[in-house]
Symmetry: C2
Subunit: 272 residues, 2 copies
């Protein structure tokens, strides 16, 4: 999958790109089922909400074949390689559960803030890719983005160790208010919250400010959160466990475009 | 304002009615400004979030002329009088702030559960009316309703004194999941979250299950929450303060349809 000049321009301006239905339901059904199994395990890579519900499972691509294929999928690798102009490696791989009723808030933050401060990543040349495993609805805690906010570089942030179970460098209310005002069209709102069917894909810049509200509905909102970093931009500080901030900088060799589909069909799960 | 037979039928089936732009921006601008002033006061009727941000201001119609006119407005009184077939009194009047960044969750609940248990209201013959003072967006903590859930009568509930600063009889996850499944169209979602401009009005049955997520955005979502009870159905237990559950059962005499507009024009505030 190659990006048109218009889409590359949109990414530069807005800081994100949305691809509805990038993966088919056949491809996603198995991933959803595998994610549910993984989130139920007691592995150290699975973190929980304060209520005990699963919040985040790290590094599933290292031990699960379906997620390994997803992390090597050309529909994700190629456009990012095109934008960065060089090979990529997997910096981080998460399944974020945003469980029904219990999925808690992610406060406003930039991911590159963490990669720079905690991992010593030299430049914001890593892309966040969110792959929807469930339908993302306006009501089940969708990811909210502040368009254009990636142009401000790395903003001052405080280390939030209180609000949720996940330590995060978060932005203050004045900064978020200012960024939203800058992003808003006249009389409008400076936040977007892309929604769509399972298999939709959202790519956004490492400095794009984002957050998500809690999920109080019975509808879970699982997404995969794949971060691809330019190989020449690999991290230099190893303060976090290897399964959170990976240290294998081998360039990703994409699999065939139909590899995930073939695997999913061979391991078909009953439709819900 | 009279309801057509179709709308009365919709109310019976779905448990709610939505009236976009029921009040004009001229009428709402003053109410919004007055609400902001009231929420900043230290009156005992103003309750706060755990963070200190204002959450709810009670009984503003008893001491503020603009809100007195709103609580006596024929666009609100007449349709409810028509549905209940008798005069009404004000059971409760709240301004819910759902403040920018700090407006917290309202867990899933039925209001009549509280009116019956705490106030001894004989029947669910009281209507909730939500008047939007700010634009209600999908992202700023809109009220979520489960259509048709009012047909189940008063459901079993637990008294939540922990989650937020407001004591509430809340429903468990299994009940909410079941009600959503019943409300959902085939392959769809059993929750609606009406959104719209300031001045829009949402009326819903006292037994309709509803809740709202926190507001993590810079966009406040103030609504007035007016509860009109049939006079013959007045409360019989006085366990809550008079300014929370009113004891004046005098039938409301509606003001003229242009009374609020005239008052707003005479006290015009600068547009934002």
């Amino acid at each position: 999958m190659q990006l048109s000049p218009e889409r590359r321009n949109t990414f530069g301006q807005q800081g994100y790109l949305f691809f509805p239905n990038c993966f088919s339901e056949d491809e996603v059904a198995l991933l959803r089922s595998e994610a549910e199994s993984i989130l139920r395990t007691e592995r150290r890579e699975v973190w929980h909400e304060k209520t005990g519900a699963p919040r985040t499972a790290f590094a599933a691509h290292t031990y699960n074949e379906a997620f390994r294929l997803m992390a090597h999928h050309p529909r994700l690798i190629e456009p990012v390689q095109q934008l960065f102009g060089e090979p990529l490696y997997v910096h981080q791989f998460k399944i974020n559960a945003k469980a029904a009723f219990e999925g808690d808030v992610w406060q406003w933050h930039q991911d590159y803030g963490t990669w720079a401060r905690d991992d010593g990543m030299p430049e914001p040349r890593a892309m966040n890719i969110s792959i929807f495993l469930d339908e993302v609805l306006p009501i089940n805690g969708p990811l909210m983005l502040i368009p254009k906010s990636h142009r401000h570089g790395t903003l001052q942030a405080g280390h939030d160790l209180q609000t949720t179970s996940y330590p995060l460098w978060t932005l203050d209310q004045d900064t978020v208010t200012r960024l939203c005002a800058e992003a808003a069209p006249p009389g409008g709102v400076g936040i977007v919250a892309p929604t769509g069917k399972p298999g939709s894909v959202l790519m956004f810049h490492g400095n794009l400010v984002h957050g998500s509200p809690p999920n109080i509905t019975p509808y879970p909102r699982k997404i995969v959160y794949l971060t691809l970093c330019a190989v020449s931009n690999h991290i230099t500080k190893f303060t976090r466990p290897e399964w959170i901030a990976h240290r294998d900088f081998t360039p990703i060799e994409p699999v065939a475009d139909d590899a995930l589909l073939a695997y999913a069909r061979a391991h078909r799960v009953a439709a819900e």
